[in-house]
Symmetry: C2
Subunit: 313 residues, 2 copies
């Protein structure tokens, strides 16, 4: 049997046919049309899936299930998208609507949760029964797998590690609170630190990389500067590693998963970041002499969205 | 059938016979003798249980299981106490040792976890499938129940919410890190704030309550002052509620349990504290328009240790 996964994003919807081991056999995509009512958006997604099946030489009889990851809050029990800012969706009965077009079991969950599931089935945390996936991008998302099952909360609003508090009265967050973890552990945090500090250190190679336009600074420029030994780059990198290590130590102390998996744009720094975290996190965990969570880099990259969605059940 | 629960503390071991609904039918206790080797300590505990059974008119045939909650790290799978500072125990094979005296199924877990289980079986969170129990005492402990089962981590070192970071570079903690949640949300935190601030506000009724001896200040004095409208008492109470509300909002955003249960000495402030938290926490959660965790006060008090231990399985 095959499964279909949909990775629903604000600009495009990536779809794929996935086998039981989590390999993508066929792909397609459709542009997100937030100008259309949700029923038409969902009709387009279903149509994209049907064409992909046809192109791959599959029939609906081959399809075990269809799953979708959405960048927002979904209720896995009812199949409803409760809230999705990027799509402008509020209380959209996704499952009900999708099944008007393809009458198969339809599952839905948050996109970071789905990516975490993918890693735990076919990625770096495969074979573990508990993992916390953390995506370090513009914001910080997370997916929690415990006893081999997704945990997204009793009301489906959990697994938002990016909005755990890391600093009382800290940096203002777009959510309205202050000091949220994602204000310190996202790519945005790296960029903020660099913009604030580079004006006092115009000699930094970060200034060269952004050609003097501090609005053009990105996280990669800062990490590249750190790798080359640029003092400001190193300082910002160390502070970022400290903040993220405190966040990961909190995950160890509270959830103690077998593995913590780091994904998202910042994780592309690879072993430069991973090695630093593996030195730093053990300093902050409570039981320093006892076994604790391994820290790993995600393996599936952007495919995690399709694979994890297909694996929903 | 009946079950036996042991609440193992640093000064005394409370034991009880508990029925299937979580009612304590018979009680006994034995003094903790950290001067003895663990084998003799455990022999005394087993002896206490046997005498309690006899006193209550029960035989070993009536006993389904025996459970123990310890103030430290326990491995529920092996039945080993990995680490318990108060008892001076390191890698003590509790189950193996106890079964030399009473050959019944023996279970073990952390004391805060066990208290959380008790509340979820016979207390305020009975009937829910997910809850986070938080004990606000000298430190902050916690017990996590998800899908009706205890979650204490892949390595048994999780569920230590008191050592999640609430402030980067914050107050030094006894664990060696800085900014741990328990530095802001424990009775100790209330006392610290009062001691720091009362010297600048000698007119505060806190100073009267402690008879000018700031070492004698306790959390109840501060909350009583707040209730009476003493400005310093009110200020410290509000700051404490703010810090705890940030911590509880983080629990809502990450774990999203059906219920958060507050126990421990500070929770004896009752509705004065609960009402304030129920106003404050919703301000800081991510999805303000969606259903979220209820906040409740623990109901079982100190009995939770015996009841929860008996309910381990």
């Amino acid at each position: 049997m095959i499964r279909i996964g949909l990775d629903i994003g604000g600009t495009g919807i990536q779809t794929g046919i996935v086998d039981d081991s989590g390999h993508i056999l066929e792909r397609s995509a459709v542009v997100t049309r937030t100008d259309l009512p949700f029923s038409e958006q969902i009709a387009q997604m279903a149509d994209c899936c049907l064409k992909m099946l046809e192109h791959g030489g599959y029939s609906l009889l081959d399809v075990a299930s269809i799953g979708a990851g959405v960048p927002g809050v979904a209720d896995p029990k009812t199949g409803e998208v409760i809230f999705c800012t990027n799509l402008g969706w509020h209380h959209v009965p996704f499952r009900e609507e999708f099944r008007k077009h393809i009458d198969k079991p339809v599952f839905i969950d948050n996109d970071a949760t789905v990516a975490g599931l993918a890693e735990s089935v076919a990625g770096v945390s495969a074979g573990t029964s508990s993992s916390v996936f953390i995506t370090l991008g513009t914001g910080v998302g997370s997916g929690i797998i415990l006893n081999g099952r997704i945990w997204s909360g009793a009301h489906g609003v959990g697994s938002e590690l990016g909005h755990a508090i890391l600093e009382l009265d800290g940096e203002p967050c777009s959510c309205g609170n202050r000091g949220c973890l994602e204000r310190y552990c996202s790519a945005t945090a790296i960029i903020r630190m660099a913009r604030e500090q580079v004006v006092r250190h115009p000699e930094s190679s970060i200034m060269t990389a952004c050609k003097g336009d501090i609005q053009a600074i990105n996280a990669k420029m800062v990490f590249d500067a750190a790798r080359e030994g640029d003092p400001l780059g190193v300082k910002i990198f160390r502070r970022y590693v400290f903040c993220l290590a405190q966040a990961l130590a909190s995950v160890c102390n509270v959830l103690d998963p077998e593995v913590i998996v780091l994904g998202g744009g910042v994780s592309k720094a690879g072993s430069f970041l991973l090695d630093a975290l593996r030195v730093e996190v053990p300093k902050y965990i409570l039981y320093k002499d006892l076994p604790s969570s391994r820290i790993e880099l995600a393996r599936l990259g952007p495919d995690a969205g399709i694979i994890g969605a297909a694996m929903l059940s």
